[in-house]
Each structure stands twice: as structure tokens, then as C-alpha cells.
Symmetry: C2
Subunit: 139 residues, 2 copies
Amino acid sequence: MPSESFEVRAVGRVESPLKEMESAPRQGDEGAPRVWIEFDPDVLDALVGVQPGDRVVILSWLDRANREVLTVHPRGDASRPPAGVFATRSQHRPNPIGLHPVEVLEIEGQRIKVSGLEALDGTPVIDVKPVLEGEISER
Amino acid sequence: MPSESFEVRAVGRVESPLKEMESAPRQGDEGAPRVWIEFDPDVLDALVGVQPGDRVVILSWLDRANREVLTVHPRGDASRPPAGVFATRSQHRPNPIGLHPVEVLEIEGQRIKVSGLEALDGTPVIDVKPVLEGEISER
């Protein structure tokens, strides 16, 4: 039985100095750079009210991930027993969506600059959500 | 210029007593019921290592949302000025992905029971991610 599927669209794209998977830290708090996100012109109204200082979650589509992978060694450590990808934050998973809690630093035209985000240059952004009070704490 | 798009697949589905949008609380901490999530047989390996007591984020595809909406009155309150959907948690947005921080309560075959989740019965689930230490606090 084929699973039901839906179309997710890019609403923007990450502009990052990280060009290759090998150079990307595993999580945003492990040395990820500040990056700009450039949004598509047709969604700019959706950014109204987003301000510097806001804590938001960026959702990305990790387009270089392998969607066939169901189990991995956590953090790529072969000495650890394999775990299901739903028990890890591996980018390799049926739907390679990244969750990046960041702070909005600057807004300039159709771009916003955010704190440490570990996605590669050109990674599609698919959503931005404010953090609800008490939901995601500072690291 | 058409935006780039990708195919996201359902990996499971919410089984909830909430059948209509009018009855769903706006956020999971506002009286949402415990629900079962039934996973597709072909992704069960991805659940290995997920255990009762785990804090996870369920990603859903809010298939009854309006994807054309770019601005809303926060929490449906017409007395508040409209905000861009990226500044709100409105279900109506270009990619209607829901983020639901929950606790895993029980695992039974290809189903897991989780604490308060505000999605309607039948809502597709598209991902499950463990909460990283310090990332999402208890409410």
C-alpha cells in the first residue's frame, strides 16, 4: 500500500558558508555559523511581525539526506548500537525535515539573519514558527 | 517563478477523539487528549529505541489547513492586528506542518500513545524527533 504524500514547497533558502556535509556541525549549538535566509517574494507577507530578538524555529528540507535510511548509529558512532531514526536527530529519515531553534538577529528586505544554524548553503527553508513561551529553552 | 517543491509522505496517522476543527484546542497544553499514533508498517524500524517516558516532537501535516493564507489575526482574535503566519503558530500557512512536543506514554505493536496532542483524527504524521537536552522544556 503506497503511503499518502503531500507537496511541500520551499519558501526560502539558507545562505551559509557551509558548503559540504563534512563541514557541517551535527547540531546548531556545536559551532554553527550565523546565516542569512532569503525568502521567496510571494511569501514576504508571512514575515510581518517577525522581529530581531525573536526566538523562532526554522524548518528546513535537508535535500541532501538519504530518505531510505530507517536505522543509524547515533552521531555516526559505529560503536553505538543502531537506533531507529525516529529516536535520533539524524538528517537521514523518511522526511528529511530539520528543526533549527534560532534567534532572529537582523531583517533586511526579504532576508533575515539568524543565529547558529547548521544547514548547508542552499538548503530549502519550508517554515518559520515562533517559539511558544516555555516550549523551547535557551541552550 | 514557481518555487521548488518536494514530496513529503505520511509515516503514520493520529487516532484522536477530536473529529472537527471547532473542537480542537489551539495548543497541546490547552486540554488536548492523549492520542494513539499508528505508523505505516514500512517505517516501523525507524521507531527502534523510542521508549515510554521519552520526550519527542511529533511533526504532523495539517491537511485541513488553508495554504494560501499569509496573514492572520493571532489566535483568531479580530481585535488584534493581523500578523504574518511565520510570526504565529496558525495552522494556516504555506506548508501546514504542526510541531507537537509530547511524552511517549505507551508502545503497542505499530502504535504509540502520546500525551496531549491537538491534531484532528486522521491527521497525517510525517516525522518523530527526540527532544535534545535543554532544547524544549516541560511546560
